[in-house]
């Protein structure tokens, strides 16, 4: 199954992507980026101005929504208020003239999977938000369509329930092997649920890929700040080829290995570093590698500590694990490693240097940091 996408209008343009069968594909972006529009075009609820949409091998541009063999879960669930949970679940089957007995059987099965068995006789308004969400999910699953579209299905739930439903949706999707196309504005949802994610901004694709690849190697400054919390710290930078160094935010001067400096172009750059890569300077750190920063804000979150400081005109944040006794106004030595930086070309936003691999691995019984 494949979908190719091209559209030349204001809202969405130049989308070209293939979604693999059985994949959990997440469309993520800030509100108004066109992600819902795209989902609705796949569903057939909005017309495609130009380009082709293929479902499987079939061109689907002018197919009516019900002929596309897909199901959809809406943000407000779109449950029929006058029907019971049971009737809501079987509504689509009833329209397709499935036999009553088969309808009941399938509904019972799905209800059991989602823990709705006790609520089948109730009306939607007698259910809690989480239960309604499950009914919407059940309605999508019961149709046995190979593709399921979800439009911000969790945004009306509270944080705890949302975390729970994330794993549940993921579990069901794996179990049934459905192709899931999932729209959200929440980057945490995208990171935790997606096999692959697509980041959209102002109707254009910013990046498509595995969540961790996108986190580590963001294609441009927008992706860098959109994915990850707190966002990646950015600052305008210039390279000084003679001194083999880079000047970040007019203040911080870092040496660059001579073999690398050659590959850096000489126009203006944007340097970016993840907050967790701004590490505390240790006792035996040579004084010349330390950078003293004045703390402007501190948040101690129990298992980690986030503090901000000014680097030139930019406000940066650092995230250290564990609890740190830091007060506003303290001057703290931190360690900044050139290797952890991304570099983007300022004008185009293209990534020109990836950070070196900073992930930790486990080999056998030994932990390698």
């Amino acid at each position: 199954m494949s979908k190719s996408y091209d559209k030349q209008v204001d809202v969405i343009s130049n989308i070209n992507v293939t979604i693999e069968p059985g994949e959990f594909f997440v469309l993520v972006g800030p509100s108004g980026c066109g992600k819902s529009t795209m989902l609705r075009m796949i569903a057939g609820l909005e017309t495609i101005t130009s380009g082709t949409l293929k479902i499987g091998d079939q061109v689907a541009n002018h197919l009516s929504p019900n002929k596309r063999d897909l199901s959809m879960v809406f943000q407000n669930y779109a449950l029929y208020p006058h029907l019971t949970v049971q009737q809501n679940i079987t509504f689509g089957l009833d329209v397709k003239k499935v036999k009553k007995a088969a309808q009941r059987e399938r509904a019972a099965e799905v209800a059991k999977m989602l823990g709705l068995t006790d609520y089948l006789k109730r009306k939607p308004r007698e259910l809690s938000g989480g239960q309604r969400q499950r009914v919407a999910l059940a309605r999508a699953i019961v149709s046995e369509s190979p593709i399921c579209l979800m439009d911000e299905p969790l945004s009306n739930l509270d944080a705890k329930l949302r975390a729970h439903m994330r794993t549940e949706i993921r579990r069901i999707q794996r179990k049934l092997g459905i192709t899931m196309i999932y729209v959200t504005h929440d980057q945490v949802e995208a990171m935790t649920m997606g096999d692959r994610i697509m980041i959209l901004h102002e109707g254009k694709i910013q990046q498509v890929g595995k969540p961790i690849d996108i986190y580590n190697n963001p294609a441009n400054p927008f992706v860098a700040t959109f994915i990850g919390s707190p966002p990646m710290n950015l600052a305008y930078s210039d390279v000084d080829k003679k001194a083999s160094a880079i000047v970040i935010g007019d203040i911080l001067r870092l040496p660059v290995p001579p073999e690398e400096v050659i590959s850096i172009p000489e126009y203006q750059l944007i340097a970016g570093i993840r907050p967790e890569h701004l590490r505390p300077a240790l006792k035996d750190t040579p004084e010349k590698d330390k950078l003293y920063v004045v703390v402007t804000n501190v948040e101690v979150l129990g298992n980690e500590t986030v503090f901000s400081f000014k680097l030139g005109t930019n406000e940066w944040m650092a995230k250290w694990s564990g609890q740190w006794h830091i007060d506003i106004g303290d001057s703290i030595p931190i360690l900044i490693d050139y290797g952890a930086f991304c570099l983007f070309e300022a004008r185009t936003g293209d990534l020109i240097k990836k950070p070196t691999d900073l992930g930790n691995s486990v080999f056998g019984k030994e932990v390698l940091v």
Binding site: G51, T52, V59, N61, H62
Partner: protein
Amino acid sequence: MTLLEKPGIWKRTANGRTALLYLLPSILLFSVFVFYPMFRTIYLSFFLTDQNGDAAIWVGFENYSYLLESTAFINSMKATGLFVLYTVPIGIILALFFALLANEKLRGIGFFRTVYSSTMGISVAASSVIWLFMFNPSMGMFNRLLSLLNLPQIQWLLDPQWALLSVSISTIWMNIGFSFLILLGGLQNIDEHLYESSRIDGAGYFYRLRRITLPMLSPTLFFIITISLINAFQSFGQIDILTQGGPSASTNLIVYSIYREAFINYQFGTASAQAVTLFIIILIVTILQFKLGERRVHYQ
């Protein structure tokens, strides 16, 4: 881009055709019973007609100039104007007063709401018959009350000086139920928090009434004023039962005048001219209301 043929005109107008199907009953009925007769009325108003209401002789604006010179018609217009003036303001003020009372959260308030709105459920014919008896010179309760108080008797519906007033009183009563219901609905739509915050600021009842209730109610008031004006111009049943336009044509309101001209005197031409006048008056009232309303009404 191989299989992408542009959908044909038949397919592109599919929505329009479906919509037309759904709208067809309304459009058909409106055409036959609203638009066609409106144009027909305008057309007839330029003719003298025969018994079957068909146009016979073209007379141009003569029907209108005849009306403008006819004292009967001018009287009828005057009576209609007075009638509107008597019924609309008092009716709305009373309904508003009742609605404010009935909007208090008290035990058993539902009962009072039902009583206030009850006149909406009573037809014009039934109310008129009840009031006809109450105005009865010998047995009616008004005159009995007067005699109890040793006041002179009044020929409510038979005295040209009193007849219009009497009809107006009964009309106010008939219309109060509907106005009350609409105004109460408007009051209940006002956000409770506004009152709570004003109480915290220490505002008194009348201050709240003036500064919160009335401004927030203004769209509803605006609506009910328009409807009441239009209703007043259209009054017919109470005239037909209470006075038949008399005495000495003092209650010959415009719709009754049209009815008599057309279906008793068979003068469809001049009746049509009167109908057009009624239409224009109502048009002006509605347009005026909207023009004034746009500026003064506070919408949420």
